[in-house]
C-alpha cells in the first residue's frame, strides 16, 4: 500500500467509506494527534510486510534442506539457529521449529486459539488459517480438513497436528518431489508452495502446470 494509494483514498467522498474504515481512520488521527505514532512509520510497517516477508523465505530454507544434508540436520535440531546462517533470508525470531514430513508421517500446523504463524518464513497468514473452519477442525478431523484442500494421504500415514499455543512457530519440511535429481536450490525453491510448509498441501510436481 503506497503513500500514493493512501492519499488517493483520502480524496474519496466519505459516503463511499464503510463505518469500519471511518473508525479506523479516526483512531489513526487520534494516535497521531496524541503523538503516539508517525503516520509515515505506519506506512513503513506496511511496506515492510509487503516486501520483506513471504513464503519465498520459507521456500529457500526448504530447498536448501533438500540439497544440503548437514543444513537439513541443523534445521531439524535448531531451526532458529540454522535459518540465521542464511544471510539472504530475513532474520527470524527465536523459537522456530521445523518438522519433517516422511512417508510415515505428515505434519499439519494450526493455531486453534488465534492465528500464530511463522510470519518471517511464510508472510502474513491467509484468511482460512485464521478462520473458524480450519481452527476448529484441524485438531479433530485433519483428514477432513486436508480433503477440503484436495489433499489425500495413505490411510496408514500418521498425521501429526501441531497446535501453536505458545510462541513456538512451526515450519513443515515437506518431502522433496520425485524427478528433481540434480536440480539447483533455486529450481527446487520454485516448487515449494506456502501450503506445503503449513501441511495443507504438497510441493508442486516437476513439469506439472502451476
Amino acid at each position: 500500500m503506497s503513500e500514493h494509494d493512501h492519499d488517493h483514498h483520502h480524496d474519496h467522498d466519505h459516503s463511499e467509506l464503510s463505518e469500519t474504515e471511518l473508525r479506523v481512520r479516526a483512531l489513526e488521527t487520534i494516535l497521531t494527534e496524541k503523538g503516539y505514532v508517525e503516520p509515515a512509520a505506519l506506512d513503513a510497517i506496511i511496506q515492510a510486510y509487503e516486501t520483506k516477508i513471504g513464503p519465498h523465505n520459507g521456500a529457500q530454507v526448504v530447498a536448501k534442506a533438500w540439497t544440503d544434508p548437514a543444513f537439513k540436520q541443523a534445521l531439524l535440531d535448531d531451526a532458529t539457529r540454522a535459518v540465521s546462517t542464511l544471510g539472504h533470508v530475513s532474520r527470524v525470531g527465536d523459537h522456530l521449529v521445523a518438522v519433517e514430513n516422511t512417508p510415515q508421517r505428515h505434519n499439519v500446523i494450526v493455531c486453534t486459539l488465534c492465528s500464530c504463524y511463522p510470519w518471517e518464513m511464510l508472510g502474513l497468514p491467509p484468511i482460512w488459517y485464521k478462520a473458524a473452519p480450519y481452527r476448529s477442525r484441524a485438531v479433530k478431523d485433519p483428514r477432513g480438513v486436508l480433503a477440503d484442500f484436495g489433499v489425500s494421504l495413505p490411510k496408514d500415514t500418521e498425521i501429526r497436528v501441531w497446535d501453536s499455543t505458545a510462541e513456538t512457530r512451526f515450519l513443515v519440511l515437506p518431502m522433496r518431489p520425485a524427478g528433481t535429481e540434480g536440480w539447483s536450490e533455486q529450481q527446487l525453491a520454485e516448487l515449494v508452495t506456502r501450503d506445503s510448509m503449513i501441511g495443507t498441501g504438497f510441493p508442486k510436481t516437476p513439469g506439472a502446470p502451476s
Binding site: 483512531l27 503516539y36 510462541e167
Partner: protein, 219 residues
C-alpha cells in the same frame, strides 16, 4: 477464559475455503490496523498477550461475525481506552480531545520499524529446575481461569506425553494481565486422538500443544 476463540474441536463451522490468489490485505484499512497494533505494542502500550486477551474478550457474537482485522481493530480500541491511552471522548470526536499518556518507549517513528520486523524473544532465565522431561506422562489440568490462558479446552483433563522441552519462557497467563513475565517451563505435549476425541476417532492422528508447566500435573 472459556471464550469462542478457543475453537479446537468445535463442530459446525463448515468447510475450509481457501481464496485463490488472496491479497495480503483486502482493504486499505486492514493494513492500517495491523500497523497501528504493531506500532502501539512496540511503543509499550501493551504486550502481545494483552492484545490477544482483548480480542478474546470481544462478545462472542462480535468475535464470530467480525473479520480478522475487524477483531484486531475492536480489541485495539478497547485496550487503548482501558489503559488510558485514548478516551471515549477522543473516539466520539474522532480527534484527540484529551491529553496524551506517556508511552513506555516513546513515540513510534520510522526508525523503529526495522526492529519490529524481527520477532521478540520470549526465553527467560529459569527460576527453578524443570519438573518434567521428554517421555514423562502428564495430565493437562482441569482449569478454567476467567482471564487469559493458552491451555485450550480440548486437552484439559487429558493425558499426554512430554516430547520437547523449550526452556523457560514468558508466561502468557500473567503477562496478559500485566502481572509480570513470571517465566515458566514450556513443553510440547503430544496426545493420542483416542484420548482427546474418543475410541471412534482416527487412530493415525496425534495432536500436540505447547504447554507451560503450570498447565500440567504428573500422571
Amino acid at each position: 477464559m472459556n471464550g469462542v476463540h478457543d475453537m479446537g474441536g468445535m463442530d459446525g463451522f463448515g468447510k475450509v475455503e481457501p481464496e485463490p490468489n488472496e491479497p495480503m490485505f483486502h482493504t486499505e484499512w486492514e493494513a492500517r490496523v495491523l500497523a497501528m497494533v504493531r506500532a502501539m505494542g512496540a511503543a509499550g502500550a501493551f504486550n502481545i498477550d494483552t492484545s490477544r486477551f482483548y480480542r478474546e474478550a470481544l462478545p462472542p457474537h462480535v468475535y464470530l461475525a467480525s473479520s480478522y482485522y475487524k477483531k484486531w481493530f475492536l480489541g485495539l480500541e478497547d485496550l487503548l481506552v482501558d489503559k488510558g491511552y485514548i478516551a471515549a471522548e477522543d473516539v466520539a470526536a474522532g480527534h484527540a480531545v484529551q491529553p496524551a499518556k506517556p508511552l513506555k518507549r516513546g513515540k513510534f517513528t520510522v526508525g523503529d520499524v526495522e526492529r519490529i520486523m524481527v520477532r521478540g524473544k520470549f526465553g527467560r532465565t529459569a527460576p527453578a529446575p524443570a519438573k518434567f522431561k521428554p517421555g514423562d506422562r502428564v495430565r493437562a489440568r482441569n482449569m478454567h481461569p476467567l482471564t487469559h490462558t493458552r491451555l485450550p479446552r480440548y486437552v484439559r483433563g487429558h493425558v499426554g506425553v512430554v516430547e520437547r522441552d523449550h526452556g523457560c519462557q514468558v508466561f502468557p497467563d500473567t503477562a496478559a494481565m500485566e502481572a509480570g513475565e513470571n517465566p515458566q517451563w514450556l513443553y510440547t505435549v503430544v496426545f493420542d486422538s483416542a484420548e482427546l476425541w474418543g475410541p471412534d476417532s482416527d487412530p493415525t492422528v496425534k495432536v500436540s500443544i505447547d504447554a507451560f508447566e503450570p498447565y500440567l500435573e504428573a500422571e
